[in-house]
């Protein structure tokens, strides 16, 4: 499908301080999967989503609500049945062809035969560019894997593998970072540790980011805005701005305001359909 090459997303100016550029614009996106024997599954219904440049947006929702499908649309791995997906005014495919997308999945998807260093340098090879050793070294340091450059994925812990995966996503300084439950397979303690590390890394790079998660705390620790989705078919239920100052330390996460918001969002996840 060729999404209409309209002007660069004529978004009405939202009531925000300045007027940042729109990074991601998903409008009226339906996604229907054809199953066996002519059955159809509607994964998404009329999803509208606008994300500004430099914004960190978390998408939360019950499992099977289509939040990963939204991410796959943004990544160009799926196309919407109806509606359009534009990233910086272009199709996601265009963006990935220009090597401007970064991605990290729940399954770390590291190459088992390659070392940490080689895995992080992979996007350079995919793009056919010369590996920038200084950049790779910098990221290895940033994600705290100095001394493990030559290790292979199977020699690393789950948390370390995810750090490699995130470093790999960041290495080309992408314009859009897509994170699909990157810490979903980790234990609670490692997960929180990785959350604060990601917050620190993000503070340095400030890349427009979409994080898909089912962990409300994680969303609130990391995001500027939380999108709550409801399931079957997946719809955007509400969008909540998160105004806690950064860096969000333990003091923040223990605060009553934080807990109130956690409870509020958790209630939205649990509540039956119909807003």
């Amino acid at each position: 499908m060729t999404s209409a090459l309209t002007l660069t997303a004529p978004i009405p100016a939202t009531a925000q301080e300045s007027q940042p550029r729109t990074a991601v614009s998903i409008t009226g996106a339906d996604k229907v999967f054809s199953l066996a024997r002519g059955k159809k599954l509607q994964a998404l219904e009329a999803v509208d989503l606008q994300i500004d440049e430099g914004e960190f947006v978390a998408i939360i929702g019950p499992s099977g609500c289509g939040k990963s499908t939204v991410l796959r649309l943004a990544a160009g791995l799926d196309t919407p049945t109806h509606g359009t997906v534009e990233i910086f005014g272009d199709t996601p495919r265009t963006l990935s062809a220009q090597h401007r997308l970064g991605v990290a999945f729940q399954e770390h998807a590291l190459l088992p035969w390659a070392s940490v260093r080689e895995n992080i340098a992979l996007p350079y090879k995919v793009a056919g560019r010369k590996v920038d050793d200084a950049r790779v070294d910098g990221l290895i340091e940033l994600v705290g894997l100095v001394g493990f450059e030559k290790a292979r994925p199977k020699q690393l812990s789950g948390g370390m593998r995810q750090r490699v995966s995130i470093a790999r996503a960041l290495v080309l300084s992408p314009d859009l970072l897509l994170l699909d439950e990157p810490f979903g397979a980790l234990d609670a303690v490692t997960r929180r540790k990785m959350n604060s590390e990601l917050a620190r890394i993000w503070a340095e790079e400030r890349i427009t980011t979409i994080l898909v998660t089912h962990d409300v705390d994680e969303a609130l620790i990391l995001a500027d805005r939380v999108i709550v989705m409801s399931g079957r078919p997946g719809r955007v239920r509400t969008s909540v701005d998160v105004d806690f100052a950064r860096p969000r330390t333990g003091a923040h996460t223990r605060s009553p305001e934080f807990h109130t918001l956690v409870d509020e969002l958790t209630a939205l996840l649990d509540a039956p359909e119909g807003t």
Binding site: A75, L77, S96, Q98, A109, W113, V126, G128
Partner: protein, 252 residues
């Protein structure tokens, strides 16, 4: 079941089984239970280690091995290229799959006259070896390529990989263990293929030795030749299994 068996027990089983087979072969020959065409093993070994026997078998074994090696390389190269083509150009996939299956289904005997007229009597053993190797390698490589995980494929898609880079950065390295898996199976197949190819009038080789020994009722020679081919096949298999294990450790 295997997990509960200790390594020492496993070795004991292997040695015991081999010993049983050797003793059985010896006894059948000794008491002529299978007629005169089954000589005792000691007689076969005595012939194989005699000066005339050993040099005859050695000379012909080298010819067979050379044909097998040529077929091995040729079959592997063609199969890897074919499987890669089937992967990169999906349009070719069904055709190549069926072509490989049909080629494998045609009995060697039926192909022999065709091969003798095209590849010649001396070339036929290598071609038949290549055919046997080719099918095994094609199937191994195809399944090795099919083995890439969707997450890896998605990753390269999002990073904007070209088809060629997807092949060189993901699919080929991923298929390395399957490649060596295939080689371990293909090595004995190459030796068997070359030996059979020599039946159709090759001037030298283990296959020729087998045919002429059978026709002249030289049972000790026939069994020695068969034994030599078997031992070499077995060693080729074991050698490639070792390499395959290394490849799995490195790539998986």
């Amino acid at each position: 079941m295997n997990a509960t068996i200790r390594p020492s027990t496993k070795i004991a089983y292997a040695v015991g089984g081999a010993l049983l087979l050797v003793v059985l072969a010896q006894l059948i020959g000794q008491f002529e239970l299978a007629g005169k065409s089954w000589p005792p093993l000691t007689e076969v070994l005595a012939y194989a280690s005699s000066l005339t026997g050993a040099s005859l078998i050695w000379r012909n074994l080298l010819v067979t091995l050379s044909a097998a090696a040529q077929g091995f390389v040729l079959g592997t190269a063609v199969a890897v290229i074919g499987a890669t083509m089937a992967l990169v150009v999906p349009l070719l996939r069904p055709g190549l799959d069926r072509f490989a299956a049909i080629l494998n289904a045609v009995p060697t005997i039926a192909l022999a006259p065709l091969l003798i007229t095209t590849a010649g009597r001396e070339g036929t053993p290598a071609v038949i070896a290549a055919l046997s190797v080719g099918f095994v390698m094609f199937v191994s490589m195809t399944s090795g390529f099919a083995n890439t995980s969707p997450a890896h494929q998605d990753l390269l898609t999002v990073f904007g990989s070209s088809r060629m880079r997807r092949l060189t950065l993901l699919e080929l390295p991923r298929a390395v263990p399957a490649f060596f898996d295939g080689l371990a199976l293909a090595a004995p197949a190459a030796i068997l293929g070359a030996t059979i190819g020599e039946w159709f009038g090759a001037p030298q080789g283990i296959g020729l030795l087998l045919v002429s020994a059978m026709q002249n009722y030289q049972m000790a020679l026939m069994w020695s030749a068969a034994l030599a081919a078997t031992v070499v096949s077995l060693f080729a298999y074991l050698a490639f299994v070792q390499i395959q294990r290394m490849a799995v450790r490195r790539f998986a």
